[in-house]
Each structure stands twice: as structure tokens, then as C-alpha cells.
């Protein structure tokens, strides 16, 4: 069933257009990479603060609140620029284990971010012991894995 869904995506006129239009893929890939930089910065500034590094003179919840919207909007940009790439190479993605690992970790990352990470980052500082460090470390690990698998889809699939 999933395979037929990917075959359907691959067969869409938009997918064909993406593959035929010389500049479509490069432009979308460049935009995806720029969005990735924005997302990485927004995540890292807060994660480093959770680890007790970086902007330690600024309250953690203030940083987390301010960078939350940057993280969300750059993720939206990543999705908007990532979806056409999946559509145009749907079967390549379907048969790549890195694609599935990436998707699974993105889901874990989003759930983790909007539940545990957000709660810890917005909590009163000094009340959660070592948990902020654990959460910061996990968050960096999750999003680093996503970018590693994303890169490997193109290189090893």
C-alpha cells in the first residue's frame, strides 16, 4: 500500500515537472539547505543553553520563547522545500533505508520538542536538576541524526 502511494507520488505531473525543469531541483535544494541553517541555529542556541553553555546570562525560558518561532518557521520552510524533493524522487526515497530512518527520527524529534524539550526549557531554572542537560544532549543528537541521514539519502541510495 505504501509502495503504491510512492508510485502515485512519482507519477504526479508535478514530479515530472520537477525532473524536467533544469533549475527546479537545484533551487529547491539550495532553499532547503538555507532553511536547515536557520533551523540548526534556532535549535542549537537553546540546546547549548540547556547544556549550560552559550548564552548563559540570558534566562533559558526567554531564549526558548524567542527562538521557538524561528525553529517552527524554519521547519515549515524545510517541509515546504523537502516535500517537492520527495515527490520528484519518490521511488528512490521509498527504497532508501536512510529516508525511513530520517522520517522516523523527525517524528521522534517533533514529539520530543513539543513535549519534553519545551517543558524543560520553559520551566523555572534550577528546579530540574540534570534534566536540562540530558534534554539538550538528546535534542542535538536527534537533529544531527536527521541531517546525517538526509545527506546519506543522496549519497548512498
Amino acid at each position: 500500500m505504501l509502495q503504491s502511494f510512492f508510485e502515485w507520488m512519482q507519477g504526479l505531473p508535478f514530479s515530472a515537472w520537477m525532473l524536467e525543469e533544469t533549475w527546479a531541483s537545484p533551487i529547491i535544494q539550495c532553499a532547503h539547505l538555507v532553511a536547515l541553517v536557520g533551523f540548526a541555529g534556532a535549535v542549537l542556541v537553546v540546546d547549548m543553553r540547556l547544556l549550560g553553555r552559550g548564552l548563559i546570562k540570558t534566562p533559558l525560558n526567554q531564549l526558548a520563547r524567542e527562538l521557538d518561532r524561528w525553529m517552527i518557521w524554519s521547519f515549515v520552510a524545510l517541509f515546504v522545500t523537502g516535500a517537492p524533493q520527495v515527490l520528484s524522487t519518490a521511488l528512490k526515497q521509498y527504497y532508501s533505508p536512510f529516508f525511513w530512518w530520517k522520517m522516523q527520527i523527525i517524528v521522534i524529534g517533533l514529539l520530543f520538542n513539543f513535549t519534553i524539550r519545551r517543558r524543560v526549557a520553559l520551566a523555572e531554572e534550577g528546579t530540574l536538576g540534570h534534566w536540562p542537560k540530558v534534554v539538550g544532549f538528546l535534542s542535538i543528537g536527534i537533529w544531527t541524526s536527521v541531517s546525517v541521514y538526509a545527506r546519506l539519502i543522496g549519497l548512498l541510495s
Binding site: P26, G38, R53, L55, L63, E66, L67, R151, L155
Partner: protein, 174 residues
């Protein structure tokens, strides 16, 4: 210049790196991850200068607290980028986007040094909650545009078939 690239291309260590199955994916993946560390932090520094975000964070806090991490990312990025070039020098020699990326990095570096040694000296006067001078805001915009262009030209290096016609007419890679 071409003979230097050809000389590197023929070195046994360059050939070994080029022929290794795992070297290229490993180096390129580390290159992308370290780019996220460097460019991600620099982008938020630039946006702070422009006044787009982190307005409550004193400007002087960012270089002190974030630059060591950004420079670590840059160091790893330079090493992996250098190894990628070392492994396939002739692939990059004729690539317009490679030279454009190098030129943009040079200009971004000049902008950074100019800002650090000229504008940033007066940071105490506009550090906290005060209006950032036009020079500093301009340096932030220029830096944002230049590093975005570095990222874009870096990605475009894979598209050797999409180089400008005038560049192809120069036959540099032939």
C-alpha cells in the same frame, strides 16, 4: 594554478581518498553537520545585529559565548572542505561554483574582520537595549547574504552541468 591542482590530483594520498568508498560520504556528511553549527550560530549573530531577534541579549554576549562554538564548526568545516578538495581537485578546478564559493568566503571574511576591527570597537556604546549603529546593521545584512550565498554555491557545486555559458566558454576545466 592548474598545475598545482594537477599535482595534487596525482598524489597517492589524493588518489587513495578519491578511490575510498567511505571517505567521500563521510567527509561530505561531516561538512554539512559542521556547516549547521557554524552558519546556524553566525546567522543568529547577524540577525541580532540587524535587530531581527535576540534583542534582549546584550550584543557583546554573543561573540564571547557563541563564537568559540561557531569557530569550532568552522574549523571542522575547513578541514573536511579541504579534504574534499584534496580528494578531487580536478573536479573542482573547472567548477564555477567552487571559485564563486571561495570568492564569497573571502569577502565574508573581509566583512567579518572589518566589522571586528572597526565597528565592534564601540560596542559598549550600543551593547544593551540601544539602537545598533547603521554600520553594524549593514555588516549583519552583508554577512547574512554572503554566508547564504556560500551555502548556495556550495550546494550548486554538484551541478557541473548548470554553469554559466560565459564560464563554459573559458574552457577552464578542459
Amino acid at each position: 594554478m592548474r598545475s598545482l591542482f594537477e599535482w595534487v590530483d596525482a598524489l597517492p594520498s589524493s588518489i587513495a581518498l578519491r578511490e575510498s568508498l567511505n571517505a567521500y560520504p563521510t567527509m561530505l556528511t561531516i561538512h554539512v553537520v559542521s556547516m549547521c553549527l557554524f552558519a546556524g550560530l553566525i546567522a543568529f549573530w547577524d540577525m541580532r545585529l540587524v535587530g531581527l531577534t535576540l534583542k534582549k541579549v546584550p550584543v557583546s554576549n554573543i561573540p564571547t559565548r557563541l563564537f568559540p562554538w561557531a569557530l569550532t564548526g568552522y574549523g571542522v568545516n575547513l578541514i573536511t572542505g579541504g579534504l574534499l578538495l584534496y580528494s578531487q581537485p580536478m573536479r573542482y578546478y573547472g567548477n564555477f561554483y567552487f571559485w564563486a564559493k571561495m570568492a564569497l568566503m573571502l569577502v565574508a571574511g573581509i566583512n567579518m574582520f572589518w566589522f571586528h576591527y572597526a565597528t565592534y570597537k564601540s560596542v559598549q556604546a550600543w551593547d544593551e537595549g540601544r539602537e545598533i549603529p547603521l554600520n553594524a546593521r549593514l555588516a549583519g545584512v552583508v554577512s547574512l547574504v554572503l554566508w547564504a550565498a556560500v551555502v548556495i554555491t556550495g550546494r550548486m557545486m554538484a551541478y557541473s552541468g548548470l554553469m554559466p555559458g560565459w564560464w563554459n566558454n573559458l574552457n577552464i576545466g578542459a
